[in-house]
């Protein structure tokens, strides 16, 4: 017997957020992530929290901005088109150096696209999305357990570095059920002396703002922010390696694509092809070093994605194009099959000896 329960990925995110001390959720329904909002609507009133269905995604993200400024753990969630609407607010939250969690359970795009799973918001999540120089900590779960674990991790990292974090999932991860045990969070809340939560007449006002009209100051703020980014790149990279010890070829995939790829790697091994998998868990910071090191050992890479090929650019950059990198993909809500990935592995093994 086990203490694990079956939960949808979306529900696991919501419960883990509550365990992490998040008592404020603002959102607007959109498939395939609506279960997060539904779960919050049910639970928050019972535990003294706030669930608020805003009139739009734009409104929801600005409510997040406000609560984050007051120093409380706060989140919003949406799916691709809704996340696009939130970009302005995300940029402001970054500009004001505030921690918050934004969950994107991706669906096919662009535009309204479809409602089936996708990974085509990779660029948006890892390269900016809103205006200005910035990064988001971007975590990519590949199981329902990770939906929970990485939600908690995202809150911790956001608080630690005073910046928003994004959980980048997809429709499959949100809708599937797997056994999960939601961890108890015992860490004390981080002290937030910068929060605008009332001076009690004892200190100067804290000001939450992203406006700096003097370019010298704005430049300094940007440089300081990027010093934090450098620390994150040095300290917070997460990835999983699978059968990489003697690998001659390397599949790179995250989220649902990594699950499909694992099947293909296992099958290719049975057929005598030495292939392994590197799964980035943090998409930013991207696991550059491990990929660069792999590039000195393997003969080629395959980037498996539910997009027209976005992460593949980071794989090429990380490996300095030392070895060929090919794309194996589906788009628009379709998911590559293990057979497609296996064919891609076989082709690479044939072409690059």
């Amino acid at each position: 017997m086990t203490d694990k329960v079956l939960m949808k990925g979306n529900e696991a995110i919501a419960e883990a957020a509550i365990k992490a001390g998040c008592r404020h959720y603002f959102g607007y329904p959109i498939t395939p992530q609506t279960e997060i909002a539904a779960y919050m609507a049910k639970r928050m009133p019972k535990i003294g929290g706030t669930f608020l269905q805003a009139e739009s995604e734009v409104s929801a993200i600005n409510m997040v901005y406000g609560v984050a400024g007051a120093g409380y753990r706060v989140m919003t969630s949406s799916s691709s088109p809704g996340i696009s609407l939130k970009q302005e607010g995300i940029s402001y939250i970054v500009g004001a150096d505030l921690p918050a969690l934004i969950v994107n359970v991706q669906r096919g795009g662009p535009g309204l696209g479809g409602i089936q799973p996708s990974q085509s918001d990779y660029f948006q999540a890892t390269k900016g999305g809103g205006h200005g120089d910035y990064r988001l900590i971007c975590l990519a779960p590949a199981s329902v357990q990770e939906m929970a674990d990485l939600t908690i991790k995202a809150f911790d990292l956001a608080d630690k570095y005073r910046m928003p974090a994004m959980l980048l999932a997809d429709g499959t991860m949100g809708q599937m059920m797997e056994p999960v045990s939601i961890p108890e969070v015992t860490a004390k809340p981080v002290d937030k002396p910068w929060a605008a939560n009332g001076t009690k007449g004892e200190r100067k006002h804290n000001i939450i703002n992203s406006l700096y009209l003097k370019p010298e100051i704005l430049e300094k703020v940007n440089f300081e922010r990027f010093e934090r980014y450098a620390q994150i790149e040095a300290n917070e990279v997460m990835y999983e390696e699978y059968m990489m010890d003697d690998a001659e070829y390397c599949v790179v995939a995250f989220g649902i694509a990594s699950r499909v790829s694992k099947n293909a790697v296992t099958e290719a091994r049975k057929q005598g092809i030495k292939v392994g998998l590197i799964r980035p868990i943090t998409l930013w910071p991207f696991p550059k070093d491990v990929l660069n090191a792999a590039a000195d050992k393997v003969k080629g890479f395959i980037s498996v994605e539910l997009s027209m090929g976005q992460m593949i650019e980071d794989v090429r950059l990380a490996t300095n194009c030392k070895k060929p990198v090919v794309l194996c993909n589906r788009a628009g809500g379709m998911i590559p099959s293990p057979e497609q990935v296996l064919d891609s592995i076989k082709n690479l093994a044939k072409e690059v000896k």
């Binding site: 329960v5 429709g171 599937m176 059920m177 499909v260 099947n263 296992t266």
Partner: protein, 176 residues
């Protein structure tokens, strides 16, 4: 051992519920499991199917394209998935709703009038559980023991009075 199960029918037949029951049964047997619904814009009606994987090893892709066990609960589902099942697979057909026989001969076919049996036991919504009972009998995916533990996990506490009739339906299918 890994069993990939696909349950397919139309919305309202309890396809997702039956899948969840099966997944919990596997979980309570300490197996690795995954449950993945096809999700569409419609809340009711339309097609519904659900992938369940029950395995001794960690589950890779949760998507079942080539099932070891197929539960076909209407004709479009059988038409769509009959040829996707792996050779030697178990295919269970609700013969109340599906008049035709399988065209394949390399699979183990079982025909059970689940919808009629459910009506006869005065529980017209439980054809799904009758199909699950038959499936437990004909495949080695999960055991028939301790059914009620899994049932308690999926029937909400408010509807606990329905546990008994669900159990009956599973046993009816199992003994058919």
């Amino acid at each position: 051992m890994t069993t990939q199960v696909l349950i397919a029918g139309f919305g309202g037949q309890g396809v997702l519920f039956a899948g969840k029951f099966l997944a919990y049964k596997g979980l309570l047997e300490d197996k690795q499991v995954s449950w993945l619904p096809s999700y569409g814009p419609e809340m009711r009606g339309g097609t519904a199917n659900c992938s369940i994987i029950i395995s001794d090893d960690p589950v890779g892709s949760p998507i079942v394209s080539n099932p070891d066990v197929l539960l076909a609960m209407n004709l479009p589902s059988l038409d769509k998935y009959e040829n996707e099942a792996v050779p030697g697979s178990v295919i269970i057909v609700d013969s109340t709703l599906i008049a035709r026989k399988l065209t394949r001969t390399d699979v183990k076919a079982f025909y059970i009038p689940a919808t009629k049996m459910a009506k006869d036991m005065n529980a017209p919504n439980l054809a799904n559980m009758i199909m699950i009972g038959k499936m437990i009998k004909e495949s080695n995916a999960v055991s028939i023991d301790n059914l009620e533990d899994a049932m308690k996990k999926v029937v909400p506490a408010k509807k606990a009075d329905l546990i008994g009739v669900n159990m009956q339906a599973v046993m009816l299918g199992y003994n058919y």
